[in-house]
Structures are given as structure tokens and as C-alpha cells.
């Protein structure tokens, strides 16, 4: 028979006010198994803990029940107390007689009776407890960053700075991401490339960072500290080790029909190209869809001009397997396609453009070399209308766009308006807005400057229709402040389109078993207290993959994710939760039902010689990887034979609690 001690806490008057703690302690003395029972003002205090430790020694207790506040509050405290006194920490059960008893009941008799039942249930459970030992698993000291935008680069730099190896896997031929496409950044108006490209170079030169561009993660197995990823490096038909980035081939390539993705497809590029001048790696790539040689077998001009001998048309996709301790998701975003919102006429009118297209039109490396010319006739626009919230903040039932605020559009629209007014003072700029949202350091000041200093015309209202009339775009909208409908004959219309997660995010989320919201943004483990971690252990979130955010916020989150990664990689071993599932192989049928419901892939099956009383045969049995199991218990209920049980919450323990409550 086990020897159990019961410790009833007063919690000052919090418990003692509604529960007769003395009566509870007294009642517990008669419960089978209980050899010691007492009460004290504050069990969690040093004196209270000493009382528990002394009782454990004096009465040679095998387990203790503390009737006190919620286990969510002090379970760990009392486990440590027990452990320090030589008891297994899992031989502790808490009866929650504060949050779930004294605080909700007013009648002392009722409260006392309930407290006794709860304490008895805890004893009943404890009688079935077994000492548990937390296991450990080793940590692979390498980090995988999926996505090479500013978020991924910053995380990689910080992790590498702490001395750990980092692989950045980027789906495009170069790192840099969306930020590389931006012209200037708010609210300081620094040139985006001027602040980003040094970071790209830094990442490329850091010997701890390995950039795997033009690649994608195909498969991830394993668990925190021990992930194994399969990465497909697509054939770029150019040997990365030989290419010098000379661009000599550019004029030779006969194919000119490829769409320049970097310039938002507003101009064409050759089949062999480097996305932009500062690309990292600064290595050409051949577009297999456009290359004449790859399609017809005849051409090979680029190979002839390449003095480095880097061109290799026979290159194949390469699969690599790497091991990681932590994975950071930094998959970023893309603007939505505004074509379905047909009132804006984006699909029909070349001069209706998105804000990201405007970034390229204003950039010195863009299709117009930085001179603002409208796409249709390459004339300078004299009247420009910006429309905010295009596809953001929509009711989900309307199918008109995203339910969320894209967060960055108010600020970049102010930036665009300001830059245009600064560079081309003869241009009239109107902004249709619903709300101007500027919650950031120096943000509202920035927006006010656009209005007060640059005379940007902000119109509170939305646009109902954009229609071409001659070479003008007639923009009809409401001006809610002056309560009139306005019509503006514009030369250029810029849509502040909503942003959405990169299309690759969904499959990556599934691969990592990292949860996502209905909009395909990754969910954080806790909205406030764990904002850079996924609920799946070892997966961290960086940048817009988690939700819309601007550059400074992205960088902050990227560094925060890096800090979490470093904290993980700094450990040699991880202590695993001992309350995991386990299969009794003498009972297991090997029926594979449990595997189906395991959200973590923690269950595998092996053919194993099973030995027991009167049994010695090879059977297919389930095995749980305790480092992967998170202890939800889904398998225990699915298991038809009762072989699968959950430590710390066994069938017997829970049944005993049920019995104690119902008897």
C-alpha cells in the first residue's frame, strides 16, 4: 500500500474563507492510502514547502496530494518540492480547490464537501501514479530557414552570429525577397536596396550561412532538435561554382519573351538571366520554359560566349538531405491579383497598376529606369489616384478579398504620394481611403507630412468605378466628408492591393504540421506570449508568414525568432515531456488505427519478438517515439485493444478519478 500525504492550503482566506480546510484535512485522514494529512496557510511559501518536505521524510511518503490553487499555477512548484525531498516529481497530484471550488461557491458547507471530493479524486488518481522520468533527445545544431527575404536573412544572420550553421532555402534564383523589389522604405525614405543588399552580401559571406537558392523543401520528418529535410535544388543549367555573373550572354540570347518577374512582369527578359544586378548568388539561371536550346536542342549561344564554361544544359535537379535542430518559416507574401474586383478595371487598363508595380516604375533599376511613366503610352502622368484597401478588410461572404487589414498599405501609399509630389510637383495626387492607419514610430508624422507638406489630397471614401475615356481614367468615388460623389480624370490609378501569404506556405505548413489560420498565415503558439513560435515544437515564425507586417516589424520578429532558435540550439539535449503515450506490446494488435490519428507522426510499427507469460512470437506492434509524442492521447482512445495508454493520464488514473467523484 502506498503512503500518501495530503496538504491542504488555506491560500490565506482565498480558500479558507469558503472551505473548512481543517475539516478537509481531517476527512482525508480516513481515506485508504493516506497516512498523513494537514493544512497550512500558504503551501507555496518557503515554510509551506518545508512542511511538505519534512512530512515526506518523516512519514516516508510515496506520493503527495496538494489541495490548493490550480495546477496551472503551482503544479511545477510542488513537483520541485517533492523532487528536492527525494520523491519522483510525478508522484504529485493537485486538487484544485481554489479556482474550481472556493472561488465559485459561497456556501461553506457545500465548498467543504466539494473540496473533500476533489481531494479524494486526487488521491484516487495518485494511487495509480507511477514514477516518471523525463527522457532526453540530442539537438542537431543547425537551423533551416525557409525563405530568403529580409525575414529569413535577418534570422539567419542572427543565428549564425551566435555560432550556429544556417541553411537558407529560397525558391527563387536569388535571395532578397519582396524588399529587394521596393524602391524606398517608410518612414525614413531610405533606398531599400541600399539597406538590404549589404545584408544579402553579409549573409553570402558569412561562413556559417549556406544559401540554397532556386530550391524548395520537399519533405520534413523528425521532431524538435532532430528534423530531417529533403531539399530539391532545381537545375539552373548554370554551374554556380563557375559563373562569374558577367552578364555577357544577355544580348546574345535569342529568346526575349520571358516575363521579368523581378519587375512585376512589366518588361521582358532573356531566357538566361540574373534577376537583378545585386542578386545573391550573383549567378545566372536559365528559364527552361523560354530557352531555345532546352526546347529545340538548337542554339547554345550563351554557352559559346561564356568564358568561364559555366553553362551546363544537362544539369538535373539535385536532391539533398540535411538534418536540423530548428526550422524557421519565413515564406513571406505576395500581393493579391486585383483582376476579379472588376470595378477597378485592372485587367483591362494598363494604367491601372498595383503599388508593387509602382515601386518598380519608380525604381532606377526598373523598366522605366526610375522615370515615372505610365505603362500604356509611356507618358508622364499628371493626375494620379491611389485607392487603398483593395481586397483588404472584406467580409468573407462577399468573396471580394481578405478579411484582414494588410497593415502596410496606408504607409506605402503615403510614401508613394509623397515621393511623386516631391519629384514631380506638377502632378496632382489623390488618395481614396477608408481609414488611415499609422500605428508605428514616426508613422503618423510621416502621413501628416504627405498631407501638410506635400499637399496630397486625401479623400475619405471609396472608389466605385474606374473607366477609360480617351486617354484618361475616369475615377468615380465618394467623398464622405463633403458628402458628394466625385469624379477625377486620372492618368494613372494605383491600387493598394491586399497582401496574402506566399502560395508555397500551405504545403510547407502541412509538411511541418505547423498550424495555420484560415487565411494561410502561420499560427503562433500564443498570440501574446509566444508570438514567434509555432505550436509545433522546433518550428519558428519570421516575418509576414505569420501575419502582415512592415520591414521594421519583420526584422524585429526575425531577430526574436533567431533568439528562440539560439535558445534551442544552445542546448545539447532536450528534456522531453514524460507524459507521453506508450503501447503495451503484449496487448498491441498492430492494427494501425493509432497511427491514423496521431497529429505528430510519433507512432511507427515494427515486427518484434514479443515475450510475456506464455507468449513468445513475432508480432507487428506500435512504438511511440517519446521525443515526438506531445501527449494528447488521441491514440489511446482509438486503440481497440487498450494497449495504448498515456502516462500521467492513464485509463486507470482517470477511471479512479471518475469513481471517486461519483461514489
Amino acid at each position: 500500500m502506498q503512503k500518501i500525504g495530503v496538504f491542504v492550503c488555506w491560500c490565506g482566506s482565498n480558500i479558507a474563507g469558503t472551505v473548512d480546510v481543517e475539516a478537509v484535512a481531517e476527512a482525508m485522514k480516513t481515506v485508504p492510502g493516506v497516512v498523513f494529512s494537514t493544512h497550512y496557510q500558504y503551501m507555496c511559501s518557503a515554510a509551506g514547502q518545508k512542511l511538505i518536505a519534512d512530512a515526506i521524510h518523516e512519514h516516508h511518503l510515496d506520493g503527495i496530494v496538494v489541495a490548493s490553487c490550480s495546477p496551472r499555477m503551482h503544479e511545477n512548484t510542488f513537483r520541485k518540492t517533492a523532487e528536492a525531498a527525494g520523491l519522483n516529481p510525478y508522484m504529485v497530484e493537485i486538487a484544485n480547490i481554489r479556482e474550481q471550488c472556493s472561488w465559485i461557491h459561497k456556501d461553506k458547507e457545500e465548498g467543504t464537501a466539494k473540496a473533500i471530493v476533489l481531494a479524494k479524486a486526487a488521491v484516487a488518481k495518485l494511487l495509480h501514479n507511477k514514477p516518471l522520468t523525463a527522457g532526453t533527445s540530442a539537438v542537431t545544431k543547425r537551423c533551416l530557414v525557409i525563405g530568403g527575404g529580409i525575414a529569413g536573412i535577418q534570422t539567419a544572420l542572427d543565428v549564425a552570429d551566435a555560432g550556429y550553421e544556417v541553411d537558407i532555402v529560397e525558391q527563387r534564383p536569388t535571395i532578397g525577397g519582396r524588399m529587394a523589389q521596393l524602391d524606398k522604405t517608410f518612414p525614413t525614405l531610405d533606398c531599400s536596396a541600399c539597406i538590404l543588399t549589404p545584408k544579402m552580401v553579409e549573409a553570402a559571406q558569412n561562413e556559417k550561412i549556406n544559401i540554397i537558392s532556386y530550391a524548395k523543401v520537399e519533405k520534413v520528418d523528425g521532431f524538435v532538435g532532430n528534423f530531417r529535410a529533403t531539399i530539391r535544388k532545381k537545375a539552373r543549367c548554370v554551374d554556380e561554382t563557375k559563373c562569374t555573373g558577367c552578364s555577357l550572354y544577355m544580348n546574345k540570347c535569342p529568346s526575349k519573351k520571358g516575363k521579368d518577374e523581378f519587375n512585376m512582369e512589366m518588361n521582358n527578359r532573356p531566357a538566361i538571366y540574373i534577376p537583378f544586378a545585386q542578386a545573391i548568388p550573383n549567378v545566372a539561371v536559365i528559364d527552361p520554359e523560354q530557352c531555345v536550346k532546352l526546347k529545340t536542342g538548337k542554339c547554345g549561344l550563351c554557352q559559346k560566349v561564356c568564358t568561364a564554361g559555366a553553362i551546363d544544359y544537362t544539369q538535373q535537379d539535385e536532391l539533398m538531405e540535411r538534418e536540423y535542430g530548428a526550422i524557421v518559416v519565413a515564406t513571406g507574401f505576395k500581393p493579391i491579383d486585383p483582376s476579379p474586383l472588376n470595378e477597378y478595371g485592372y485587367a483591362e487598363n494598363a494604367d491601372v497598376i498595383t503599388s508593387l508595380e509602382l515601386e518598380r516604375l519608380m525604381n532606377a533599376a526598373g523598366p522605366t529606369k526610375g522615370t515615372l511613366l505610365r505603362p500604356s503610352d509611356l507618358k508622364h502622368p499628371h493626375e494620379i489616384v491611389f485607392i487603398q484597401c483593395v481586397g483588404s478588410r472584406c467580409d468573407e461572404n462577399t468573396k471580394r478579398g481578405k478579411p484582414y487589414c494588410s497593415k502596410i498599405c496606408c504607409m506605402y501609399t503615403a510614401k508613394h504620394a509623397m515621393l511623386i509630389r516631391d519629384k514631380y510637383p506638377d502632378t496632382k495626387v489623390h488618395v481614396f481611403y477608408i481609414d488611415v492607419r499609422t500605428p508605428g514610430k514616426n508613422f503618423d508624422e510621416f502621413y501628416r507630412r504627405a498631407v501638410e507638406q506635400y499637399g496630397v489630397d486625401y479623400i475619405k471614401g471609396m472608389v466605385g468605378k474606374v473607366a477609360r475615356e480617351g486617354d484618361k481614367l475616369m475615377v468615380r468615388g465618394s467623398d464622405l466628408i463633403s458628402n458628394q460623389q466625385v469624379e477625377i480624370a486620372a492618368d494613372l490609378v494605383v491600387l493598394a492591393t491586399a497582401i496574402e501569404p506566399d502560395p508555397s506556405a500551405r504545403s510547407i505548413g502541412t509538411m511541418l504540421t505547423a498550424s495555420m489560420d484560415t487565411n494561410d498565415f502561420f499560427t503562433e503558439a500564443h498570440a501574446k506570449l509566444r508570438p514567434v513560435e509555432s505550436p509545433t515544437a522546433g518550428i519558428f515564425l519570421s516575418g509576414v508568414a505569420q501575419g502582415p507586417k512592415d520591414v521594421p516589424e519583420t526584422v524585429a520578429q526575425a531577430s526574436a525568432a533567431a533568439a528562440k532558435v539560439i535558445g534551442l540550439l544552445a542546448k545539447d539535449h532536450l528534456v522531453t515531456n514524460p507524459c507521453v503515450a506508450g503501447s503495451d506490446e503484449l496487448l498491441c494488435n498492430g492494427c494501425s488505427q493509432c497511427e491514423k490519428v496521431c497529429p505528430y507522426g510519433a507512432i511507427t510499427y515494427v515486427d518484434k519478438e514479443v515475450r510475456g507469460p506464455g507468449v513468445r512470437e513475432v508480432r507487428r506492434v506500435a512504438q511511440v517515439n517519446p521525443a515526438v509524442c506531445q501527449g494528447c492521447g488521441a491514440c489511446t482512445v482509438t486503440c481497440p485493444s487498450g494497449a495504448m495508454d498515456l502516462k500521467g493520464f492513464t485509463n486507470q488514473q482517470i477511471m479512479a478519478e471518475v469513481d471517486a467523484i461519483c461514489l
Partner: protein, 147 residues
């Protein structure tokens, strides 16, 4: 029925998942929101840990009502536990109903860690329902106890 025994107090077992509903119950406590002492909570890691056996056991041992609380669908700490629980419990409830056990003695409610008030309200409603149904004898007597 309760008519026979004026001192009858119902026994109600509430299974609460550790991450949402148990925390929601704690919040109801911190907010001093009253609900009857007839409800006793059993902490489980996830609603998917609730084996239908536990529910049958509770009824058989004299429980008058059993309620299972978990994270809202889509919010499960373990991503999918409550989805499995939802199917399992639906099937169990239906089977119990089919056996003629009052269907209102069982309930599932999704209560988040922030929904202390919902927890208290749910418990008040549930206890009221059980009071109106009276003592549960059916399941423990489905094979005609001789006593």
C-alpha cells in the same frame, strides 16, 4: 426521480482539456463566477483523451450528467484532437440516445481559455438541465439490477 428523494443532489462530471477549457474553468474561478458545486472537473490533456469508457463508467457509477469541454474546433493545442473527439462523442451520444438514455445528460461544449463566463454559464445551464431530469438510474440498470 428526484421526487422520491428531496435531498438528492446531482453528480456531474466535467472533463476539461488542459489547454483551453480547464484554463477557462480557472478563469471562471478567478472571476468569481458562480456555478453549482455539483460539478466536479477532471483534467485531461485534450478532449480526444476522453475515452467513451470514462463516460459510461461515470454514468454507471451514478453520475447524473457528463459534460466534455475542449478547445474550439480549429484551436486544438494538438491541432486535431477535438475533431476526433467531436466524431467519437457524437457517435457515443447517439448510441446512448438510441438506448433510451436521456440525451440531455450528455453535452459537449467548446470553451476557450478566455471564456470563463461561458464556462460558468454552460455549467449553470447543464446543472439546471440535470435537475430537471432528476436522478439517473437508467444506464446502471440497463440489465435490470437485481438489487
Amino acid at each position: 426521480m428526484s421526487v422520491n428523494n428531496p435531498n438528492w443532489k446531482p453528480k456531474i462530471v466535467a472533463f476539461c482539456c488542459n489547454w483551453c477549457s480547464y484554463a477557462g474553468a480557472d478563469l471562471a474561478g478567478s472571476g468569481r463566477m458562480n456555478y453549482p458545486a455539483d460539478v466536479k472537473i477532471i483534467r485531461v490533456p485534450c478532449s480526444c483523451r476522453v475515452n467513451p469508457l470514462f463516460i459510461l463508467r461515470a454514468f454507471e457509477r451514478g453520475a447524473d450528467g457528463v459534460i466534455i469541454c475542449g478547445c474550439h474546433p480549429g484551436d486544438c493545442h494538438y491541432t486535431s484532437g477535438n475533431y476526433y473527439a467531436r466524431r467519437r462523442l457524437t457517435m457515443l451520444f447517439s448510441l446512448l440516445d438510441y438506448l433510451g438514455i436521456e440525451r440531455d445528460r450528455t453535452r459537449v461544449e467548446w470553451v476557450s481559455a478566455a471564456e470563463g463566463a461561458k464556462f460558468a454559464k454552460t455549467m449553470n445551464e447543464f446543472v439546471e438541465t440535470i435537475y430537471s431530469l432528476g436522478e439517473n438510474r437508467k444506464l446502471s440498470d440497463i440489465r435490470c439490477k437485481k438489487s
